[in-house]
């Protein structure tokens, strides 16, 4: 039996574990996660689970244990890696040898490097984060909480929508001109802002928080509430609130690879078969890989779907590696979705590659209703973002795939 160690027991690690067992009958998998909980699905944490306060059971991920060849280690993090001797070490000092290693360690939310109080500020990445946030929202007499969300990316906007729907008063603060500016662009991002505002969200765009301090009792926002904090902004204004949620992006978890000779500049650099060399593979958010369907430039993609697709793929890549060969490249079309209020966004391709506003255009529909935006590079379509129009998704996915294949052969 060969041994494969998977570092990270979230979505990409779980799907990797499934596919390794499925495609390699002579392999045992050790799946190591740093959270104590059974692996679970994260997207509901900012949406359905946050809204309903659901328990972990309702978001648990299925995890195959084909022929009992899976060993699951939870509540342990991997702290170091020795590529030459094919070993990793966990934080309780256990060394594990492997024939192949899958890095599925994901990302951690960033924190702003500003003066801050040590309470009242939340992040949302894990189930425990969500529970802590829900607990804080419940505390105090006022049932309506004043919430400041720092960051107008997908997570920030989803949290804003969910908490506003629950009746809270939410202000989003971010440095860009429009929410989700990358990848939506300013026009569609601006329209999504308009829809959020119509639902009661306040946006303070083009502003940075410079400090977070205890709310003063001389607040002109009315009676001081217990435990309130004040967010001071670059514009000189200040917002008093009951809690702050920091959703300002993330950074890949690769510190345990620091002693290896791999390129971990921005995630772990791997080839088109997700192989970094020496039997080390990467999947999900942490993998910086070249997608030959697009342009072969290595990049990290923080999409839920990529975690699934790369995990499902890597079992075949590892089989080919064990057989002394190389698998067909991983070329799945990137895709994402997001639900905010009654807005459903679906994307295919990589709209985030396109920055110039003139390369982004309304392809179909009306901006104020259901519509499709196209994102172009050198006049070739590289991605679409669709608002609504669920029954058209298949056609639009094919459109992007065809455009990318065509762009590749002509360039």
């Amino acid at each position: 039996m060969k041994s494969v160690v998977v570092v990270g027991a979230s979505l990409s690690g779980v799907r990797a574990s499934d596919s390794i067992l499925k495609h390699n009958s002579d392999v045992e998998v050790t799946l190591i996660g740093d959270e104590v909980h059974h692996p679970y699905n994260r997207p509901p944490l900012s949406k359905e689970a946050l809204a309903s306060g659901s328990d972990l059971d309702s978001i648990k991920l299925r995890l195959a244990n084909k022929d009992g060849r899976l060993k699951l280690i939870l509540g342990r993090s991997v702290v170091s890696h020795d590529g030459e001797s094919h070993k990793i070490t966990t934080d309780d000092g256990i060394a594990l040898s492997y024939d192949a290693l899958v890095v599925a360690s994901g990302i951690s939310p960033r924190r702003l490097n500003i003066p801050r109080v040590d309470r009242g500020i939340f992040q949302l990445r894990t189930y425990d984060d969500m529970v802590a946030l829900i607990e804080r929202i419940k505390v105090g007499e006022a049932s309506t909480k004043r919430v400041v969300v720092l960051g107008a990316g997908f997570i920030g906007c989803e949290i804003a929508a969910t908490l506003t729907t629950l009746g809270h008063q939410v202000t989003v603060v971010a440095p860009e001109d429009a929410p989700m500016q990358r990848p939506l662009g300013v026009v569609l991002g601006g329209e999504i802002r308009r829809r959020h505002e119509a639902n009661g969200v306040t946006f303070l765009m083009g502003q940075l928080p410079i400090s977070i301090e205890e709310a003063g009792s001389d607040s002109h926002f009315g009676e001081r509430r217990l435990g309130g904090v004040t967010v001071n902004l670059s514009s000189g204004s200040a917002i008093e609130c009951d809690l702050v949620i920091e959703a300002v992006g993330s950074s890949p978890n690769t510190s345990f690879l620091d002693s290896s000779n791999f390129d971990t500049n921005d995630g772990l650099l791997v080839d088109e078969t997700l192989h970094a060399g020496l039997g080390v593979f990467a999947v999900g958010d942490v993998a910086r890989y070249p997608n030959l369907l697009i342009d072969g430039v290595p990049r990290r993609i923080e999409h839920w779907g990529l975690a699934v697709d790369s995990g499902r793929y890597v079992g075949r890549s590892i089989k080919a590696f064990f057989d002394g060969g190389k698998a067909e490249p991983f070329t799945t079309l990137p895709a994402f979705w997001s639900d905010q209020f009654d807005i459903r966004l679906q994307s295919f391709g990589l709209p985030g590659l396109v920055v110039e506003p003139e390369a982004i255009s309304l392809l179909e529909g009306e901006l104020s209703g259901d519509c499709v935006f196209g994102y172009h590079r050198d006049n070739d379509l590289v991605g679409v973002v669709i608002v609504g129009m669920a029954s058209e998704h298949r056609r639009l996915k094919d459109l992007v795939e065809e455009a990318l294949s065509k762009g590749r052969t002509t360039s």
Binding site: P44, E48, S391, H393
Partner: protein
């Protein structure tokens, strides 16, 4: 092999349709067609084993993790 869809969890993202168009379909309003056949849980009839890979993919790619495979 049967497919069990939790229609309370399902929110009609339609990713399953890409993975297993032989089994899943959205109607013109963008709703999973199984909604017309059941309220809470829909269980398909016995499916051919040749569909297993695509049905597994559908279960994996479901954003709400609302699809189970029953043997």
């Amino acid at each position: 092999m049967k497919v069990v869809v939790d229609l309370k969890k399902c929110s009609d993202h339609g990713q399953c349709v890409f993975a297993a168009p032989e089994v899943f379909e959205l109607d013109d309003r963008g709703e999973l067609t199984f909604r017309k056949l059941a309220k809470d849980v829909y269980v398909t009839g016995e499916l051919d084993e040749s569909l297993r890979d695509s049905v597994e993919e559908a279960a994996d790619i479901c954003p709400m993790q609302a699809i189970e495979i029953e043997d």
